[in-house]
Every structure is written in structure tokens, then in C-alpha cells.
Amino acid sequence: MPSVAYGRQLDAIFVLSMWNWFFKLGSPPHFYRIATRLEPWLMGGALVLLVIGAYGGLAMAPPDYLQGDGFRIIYVHVPSAFLSMFAYSVMAVASAIGLIWRMKLAFCVAAASAPAGAAFTFLALCTGAIWGEPIWGTWWAWDPRLTAELVLLFLFLGYMLLRQAMPETRQADRASGILAVVGVVNLPIIHYSVEWWNSIHQGPSLMKLETPSIDGDMLWPLLVMIVAYQLLFIGILFTSIRTQILLRERNTRWISDLLS
């Protein structure tokens, strides 16, 4: 029996330290210092991995039996599509935390992730169109994946426009937070409805932008690129969060000490 109790104590200690870490992380000055220290590492790591991934994808991966070398565009399309969804989820979760626990830092994260997310969504759209052009013969053939990405871009733009329209930061945070949460609930429904919309298409069944089943030499560059994009996103996020923290905490003492 004692081992069970002992185990439970370990869990308690672990949970407490996690909560303490999470709570300490929640204080803006502490987060600001961590973000300042980690940022160069994130950007540097992202750059290195980007170069490795790009080289792997462009030179080392064998051409695809169906699309030849055209498939190499997935090494920039798939990571940005993945990051666009990830950014929106980060924005929605941060907004929910901000709304429920009134954590100012959570709203900083949400405000910071919107521009970065919009950039990745735009990238996913463009690279998707470029990748589709040789297959469909036009730049935009209403591929379901790209259409859902386009709606996601509208959601990002709507979030940013609402945030701009609200005069006070505190109101802007909570209002855009509600929009982000409502948006994230709608996202799967939008994806499903676009898939259904595409499935009843009477025209000749166009090849969808499916990532071809790849492995080995083709796969590792893609994973490297995704990790690189992830690091880059978090690096950009940290920079942007620091800006948001400065804007919100400009009247506090620790900011005046920091800047003088």
C-alpha cells in the first residue's frame, strides 16, 4: 500500500511544480525575460533546420513517380498549412484561458499569434495554388483543402479587424477572444462542409491536393521542415508577445526599470 501512497505523493509534487511553473510563466516580467533569452535560439534553430530541410527536399529526395519534381512544393506547402491550423488553435486556446482566468499574458499570446497565423495561411494558399497549377492547369480549382484554408484566412482577418476596431486594449482582448473561441468551434464544421461540398461536385473527379504517401528519403525532409516552421512560429510568437506585453504593461514599474 505504501508504494501507492508514495506514488501519489510524487504525483502531487509533480503537479505542484508544474502548476508553479505554469503560474510563474504566467507573470509577464518572468515570461518577458524567458522570451528574450529563448528567441535567438529559436530563430537560429529554425534557420538551420530550414536549410537542412530545404536541401533534403530539393536535392536528396527522389522525384515522385506521378508528379516528378513538382511534388517538392509539399516541403513548403504542408508545413505552412499545418502551422496555420496550429496558430489558430494557439490563438483560440490562449483566448479561452484569457477569458476564463483573466490572464493578461494569455491575451498577449492570442494577439501575437494572429498576424503570424495569417502569414502562414497566406503562404499555404499561395504554395498550394502554385503546386496545383501544373496538375489542374489553372491557379485556383476550388480544391477543398485550399478552400478551407481560404476561409481560415478570412477568420484571421476578421479577428485582426475586430481587434483594430476596439478602442481599449482590454475590451479588444476579450471581444476578439470570444470571436476566436466561436471560430475554433466552427472550424471543424467548416472543414467538413467544404469536404462535403467538394464530394457532390459533378465534374470529372480532379485530383485533390493529397500529399502522396511518402516514406524514407522523401519523408525526413518534410518532418525537418515542419519542426523548422514550428520553431520559427514560436520565435515570431515570442517576439510579438514581448511587444504585446510592453504595450499592456507600459505603466508598470518593471517596464520602466527594464527600459531605463
Binding site: L99, V151, F154, L155, L157, G158, L161, L162, A165, M166, R170, Q171, R174, A175, I178, L179, V181, V182, G183, V185, N186, I189, I190, Y192, S193, V194, W196, W197, I200
Partner: protein, 221 residues
């Protein structure tokens, strides 16, 4: 629950005192629907193909137009504050206001759609499907629109913002509504999409009132 119906009664009484505000979205809807034949010509096949989709888009835009002022007057004259300060749950009161708005602004729209469908020479099956899909779909538009209206009620220079916020969210309703109306016009059964549309409406009915209440509290802050 009785307060829910009291709010509806109150809002309906108020709406009928100012019927001109009710007419505006309807007139807008009719005009937009007549623009399409003018733009596309009288070619029957083309109009039949475009008809259901055009009517659905016009209904969506007319809905957003009328939702723009849903909470704006109440915010300006202070009655929104009184609702927020009552002991009754704010989400129920706002659901009442949204329901009253749906009855007053949307139902006439839905009843008018089959008539306008004649202008597109849409067969009876298509017209009936239009009525059904609009009837099931517009509550979701009103509910999503009420969240947007609550978020933008306090903003002075945000006239088009509500549409920009809510249109992307109403894509599923438009897809299931317009596409199934179009399929019905071509004689296919639309059992599946109608049920999906109903599912979305039930989901919107249960979740959006809380978002609207939270949005009103933010606007009043």
C-alpha cells in the same frame, strides 16, 4: 422561461411600432434577387442553375444587414444595460431578443424566397427545398449574427465589420443550404444535408447564447 417569452413579446411590440425598419431588409432581399436576371440575362438553364445559390446569398446578406442594428439601439438607449443587470440569465434574455428578431426579420424573408424563385424559373421541388433550407438555416445565421452584433454594438465606425466577422462562420450553413436547394431543384433527394443543417442549427442554438452574453458584457464594460 416566462421571461424568455416576455422579452419576445416586448421586442415584437417594439418592432411593429417601427415597421419601416422591418421592410428594409426585405426590400434589399427582393432587389438583390432581381439583379441576377438583369445581370445574367433570361437564359432559362442559366437562371435555373444560378437561382437557388443566388437567393441563398441574397438572404444571407439581407440577414446580416438587419442584424447590424440588433443590439446597437439597445446599447445606445441603455436598455442593454438593464438586461445585463437583471437577475435572469443574460443568455436567455438575449436569446429572446434574437428569437424576436428572427421572427420579425427572417421569417418574412423565408416566405418570400419561393416567390422570388419563380423569377429564376426554379421547379416546384426546388422552391419547396428553398423554403425548407432557409427555414432551418436562418436561425443559425441569426444566432451567429447576434454574437457579431453584440461584439460590434458599441463600435461607431464599424458598419461592415459584422459581415466580415460572421460571413466566414456562416460558410457551412450556406453550403448545406444552397447546395441542397440546388440538388433538390435537379430532383435529387436532400435528406442528408437537411439533417446536417438541422444539426448545425441545434448546435448554434445551444452554444451561441453564451457567446452573445459574454460579448454583451464586454461591450458594456
Amino acid at each position: 422561461m416566462s421571461i424568455f417569452f416576455a422579452v419576445i413579446k416586448h421586442d415584437l411590440a417594439m418592432a411593429f411600432r417601427r415597421w419601416s425598419d422591418l421592410a428594409m431588409p426585405l426590400v434589399f432581399f427582393v432587389i438583390v434577387c432581381t439583379l441576377f436576371p438583369l445581370a445574367l440575362g433570361q437564359d432559362k438553364e442559366l437562371l435555373q442553375a444560378v437561382g437557388p445559390g443566388a437567393i441563398w446569398v441574397a438572404a444571407l446578406l439581407a440577414t446580416l444587414l438587419s442584424l447590424n442594428t440588433l443590439f446597437r439601439e439597445d446599447f445606445d438607449d441603455g436598455s442593454l444595460e438593464q438586461l445585463a443587470l437583471s437577475e435572469h440569465p443574460l443568455s436567455v434574455l438575449l436569446l429572446g431578443k434574437t428569437a424576436a428578431h428572427w421572427l420579425v426579420a427572417e421569417v418574412p424573408l423565408v416566405l418570400l424566397a419561393p416567390l422570388l424563385a419563380l423569377g429564376f424559373d426554379i421547379p416546384a421541388a426546388g422552391r419547396e427545398a428553398l423554403l425548407l433550407t432557409l427555414l432551418i438555416g436562418t436561425p443559425t445565421l441569426s444566432l451567429l449574427g447576434s454574437v457579431g452584433a453584440a461584439l460590434t454594438a458599441g463600435l461607431r465606425r464599424a458598419s461592415g465589420l459584422l459581415a466580415v466577422l460572421i460571413l466566414p462562420l456562416s460558410v457551412p450553413v450556406l453550403i448545406f443550404g444552397a447546395r441542397s436547394a440546388d440538388l433538390a431543384a435537379r430532383g435529387q433527394s436532400i435528406e442528408g444535408p437537411l439533417l446536417l443543417l438541422g444539426g448545425i442549427t441545434v448546435l448554434a442554438l445551444t452554444l451561441t447564447p453564451f457567446a452573445t452574453a459574454a460579448a454583451v458584457r464586454v461591450t458594456l464594460d
